[in-house]
Symmetry: C2
Subunit: 166 residues, 2 copies
């Protein structure tokens, strides 16, 4: 009698364990899909080596026109990737939607940027931005008043400049 009870218990537990494992696997897959779908925008086109160090992908959201005078886009910087130094004649607003990165205005220390941060760079001021060494960066940019111009590209950010973050 005891033996039969144990057999039934064993079978019940095997069934339970299998059910839990199947549920757990299904849940893991849902989580993996959710992670894959996390990015808000498509990856976009890789930025040219003449303007970027490492891999940075640009996805345009709003093209320039004479109604809004505004350019908006999203850049995905892979870890360690950054823009060259550059200037915007009417300034730029950065909005971080995921990950972690760096921003530097010429002559000032590097500032860390994280999800939810908003960073402004004034008109005609040299700056660069990119991912931190160990994290990618999802960064929207807004260039206002484009009737004054959009961007003037300058020299690359050297490893020495990039690694100066304290």
């Amino acid at each position: 009698m005891k033996k039969t009870r144990d057999n039934i218990a064993t079978k019940l537990l095997l069934t339970l364990a299998a059910a839990v494992l199947i549920t757990f696997q299904g849940f893991s897959q849902t989580k993996a899909n959710a992670d894959a779908e996390k990015a808000i925008f498509p990856k976009g086109e890789q930025g040219p080596a003449s303007n970027f160090t490492g891999k940075a992908f640009n996805y345009g959201l709003v093209a320039n026109d004479s109604t809004y005078n505004t350019v908006v886009g999203n850049v995905l910087f892979e870890p360690g990737a950054r823009s060259n130094w550059h200037r915007h004649p009417a300034g730029q607003i950065l909005i971080i939607t995921a990950g972690e990165g760096y921003h530097q205005i010429k002559g000032k220390p590097i500032e860390k940027m994280r999800k939810g941060d908003v960073v402004k760079c004034p008109p005609n001021v040299e700056h660069w931005h990119g991912a931190s060494p160990d994290s990618s960066l999802h960064q929207m940019y807004i260039i206002p008043n484009t009737e004054k111009g959009i961007v003037e590209w300058l020299q690359p950010v050297t490893d020495k400049e990039y690694n100066a973050f304290k």
Copy 2:
């Protein structure tokens, strides 16, 4: 001998089932925390009933000034919530970061907006935007050329207007 084997098997399976359940519970909690942390920006302040139907929360990202002439913010609309009809003297750009919602330009059909969508509303055109009935909406807005003005609020969107979505 068989009885002993069954007993050992039962105990092993009990331990396994418990371990899987504990892991599963931990995983569920991590997932719940991840969901809670998903929003990019803080919830912000509830918009006034004079301008919104239902609950809409505004979080300012960029305040108006004479350098950028741009106002940026994020609105979280709860399901069914929407703005009144309104106009922007220099137009508005909407960027959807999560959820699902509606946007309508006066005289045109309601358009559905989803994560990753960009919607433009031209200067001085009457429009409204909000969540769909069954989903919240996380929506960034950009108001350019604010030297021309920011917003002129009008009448509420009636239930009949809101429910006209096909």
